[in-house]
Each structure stands twice: as C-alpha cells, then as structure tokens.
C-alpha cells in the first residue's frame, strides 16, 4: 500500500508548484531522458497524467534523513511513457510542507518496456491479475 495518496501529490504538481521540489538528479534525468527541460515541464507532465500505467513499487524510509526520530516515508512507482519505462520516488516533509521528488529516471526493470511494447502490438496477451 502506498504511504501517500498519489492524487494529492499529482494535485500539488499542478496547483502548488512552489511546494514541489525536484532534488539531486531529477531535473537532469527529466531533461536528458524524457525531454522535460524545466521543473514546470516536469510537474505539468505529472499533473496531466503523463505517468501512464503507474504501478506502485514500494514504500521505504528516507535513508538520508538526518533526524531518525522523525521518519519520512518515500513512495516509489514505475510508469510508462510511450516506450520508456520510468521510475519516480517522492516524499512529503510535514515540517517544511514540501513535496520532494527524490528520483525520476528510467526504471532498472526496463525489460518490461519491450514486454509492454509487444503487448501493445498485440503479440502478448493481456495478463489477468
């Protein structure tokens, strides 16, 4: 189960952009891998349902949290956009009231991209869950 409601994160990307902060390599990867050149490009993409086939991966505690008494959870998802399989991880700090996009890059599980492409081409039958 995700720790955060994804819809709340998505809403903030469209309506509270100053309080959504991409950190570390997020903007670099967004630019180089997904042609999203600015923070507003990235947030607008997320807000407008650009993360397709969103699949929850896991929830973990933020490993670099300097305050161990105050746990901050990170939700991670995989998504698809055209033939790219991506990965996003985000968290919310209740003290700073900021959503933090911690990771945004191609998924390490990219063999799925070919699987999804073949599935889209009708060469693999849709699996029933």
């Amino acid at each position: 189960m995700p720790y955060y409601k994804y819809e709340e994160f998505k809403y903030a990307c469209g309506n509270d952009m100053d309080n959504v902060i991409p950190i570390n390599s997020v903007l670099k990867n967004a630019k180089e891998t997904f042609n999203l050149f600015t923070k507003s490009n990235l947030l607008s993409f997320i807000y407008n349902n650009g993360l397709e086939d969103l699949t929850f991966v896991n929830t973990k505690s933020w490993e670099n949290n300097p305050n161990p008494n105050f746990d901050i959870k990170v939700d991670a998802y995989e998504f698809r956009s055209l033939h790219k399989l991506g990965y996003i991880a985000f968290m919310f700090n209740v003290n700073t009231k900021k959503w933090i996009i911690k990771s945004f890059h191609l998924s390490d599980n990219r063999n799925m991209a070919m699987y999804l492409a073949l599935q889209k081409a009708g060469l693999i039958k849709q699996e029933k869950k």
Binding site: I21, L27, F37, T96
Partner: protein, 207 residues
C-alpha cells in the same frame, strides 16, 4: 552559508553553488548558461530549491528555438524549397514562415515541431503535396529510403557485374551481384544478394 531553509530536511545549512549547464536545440546549436544550485550539508540533498533557474533556462531556450527556426528556413531556401511552396503544400496561410523567420510572429510548439520534422525528413513535404494519400505516402517513403540506400553504396570500390530492379505492379525487388574477393570465407565468388524487396506494399529488408 545561506540562512535559507532546506526544503527537504528543514536544516539551515545550505551552500549555494554556481554551475554551467549546456542547452541544446536541434538545428539551433547550443549555449552555456550559469545556474544556481543549493546543497544541504545536513541531508546531502541538492537542487534548484528556490526555483531560480527556470527563467534563465526558458529565455535561453527561447533564443535557441528562434535560431533553430531561422536556420531551418534558411536551409530550405538554400535547397531551393520556397517558403510559399511549403505554405501551400501544408495549407498554411501565406507568409506564415516568413513571419516566423523574421521574428514578426512565433510558431507554437507544434509549429516548431512541424518544421523540425520537415527539416529532418524533407520527403514529408511530398506526402503533404499528395494530400496525405496513404499509398502515395508509402511510395514516397520507400523512394526516399532507396535514395539513401543507394548513397551508401560505394560504386567506385565495389565491383558489380550486375545490379537491377525487377518491378511489377505489386512488387519490386532490388538486387546486386557482387564480385567478391576470393578471401571472403564461405561465399561463392559471384553471388546475387537481394537488398530489399517491396511486396504488396510491404518492405522487406535483407540484413
């Protein structure tokens, strides 16, 4: 040190750094810009925490896009493709491209994408000229592919005793007979190698 607060962990130990970033625009070249980044010495997070770079990225990116439009349209002119002909083929209002080129008006993102496509694949103009008819478009595409393919053959060094195209109303077959040096292992000296065939509108490429 800055007295600004790290949005990630809430600490006040932020260090501001200046970095050089390269912006690149297809057909517009590239430019270097200086951007600000902050690093929190407590949690180690870094980034444009206070949204200070967006404007400089956008304004420089805009300049590169203007240059891209100018370069693409000049390239069309140099290749004897007039702007009025492009406008006619694409059903754009006349002088649209001239206005873009002179900076009188700016193309939308879709307009810019369109002329980048035309610059990358000029044969798309022929597709428009043929009213986007599917069968004509396929033939234009294949003809373009054939021209590219033929350019890749070095007619000065390769020795072709025979080459040709066999075509019917439904299919085409391009072949070359190579006079190979004897040291090619496993191949006979004279061998007919099909390069690609086009059967019932389907392209088949021999690898």
């Amino acid at each position: 040190m800055s007295d600004k607060v790290c949005p990630v962990c809430g600490a006040k130990d932020l260090i501001q750094n200046k970095e050089i970033q390269i912006l690149h625009e297809p057909y517009g070249g590239q430019t270097q810009i200086e951007i600000s980044n902050y690093r929190c010495s407590v949690c180690g997070s870094e980034g444009d925490f206070f949204n200070e770079n967006e404007e400089i990225i956008l304004s420089n990116s805009e300049k590169l896009k203007e240059l891209s439009i100018k370069n693409i349209l000049e390239d069309f002119n140099n290749n004897k493709i007039s702007m009025s002909a492009i406008e006619r083929a694409l059903s754009l209002p006349q002088r649209t491209l001239t206005k873009w080129k002179n900076g009188v008006s700016k193309p939308s993102a879709a307009g810019l994408a369109l002329i980048k496509y035309l610059r990358t694949f000029p044969w798309l103009l022929d597709v428009a000229e043929n009213n986007f008819d599917y069968n004509s478009s396929q033939k234009i595409f294949l003809n373009s592919a054939m021209q590219l393919f033929l350019k890749s053959i070095d007619f000065n060094t390769e020795n072709f005793p025979e080459a040709g195209i066999i075509a019917t109303s439904q299919s085409a077959f391009l072949y070359m007979q190579l006079d190979r040096p004897v040291e090619y292992p496993g191949l006979s000296r004279n061998e007919v190698i099909p390069q690609f065939s086009f059967v019932n509108e389907q392209l088949q490429i021999t690898t």
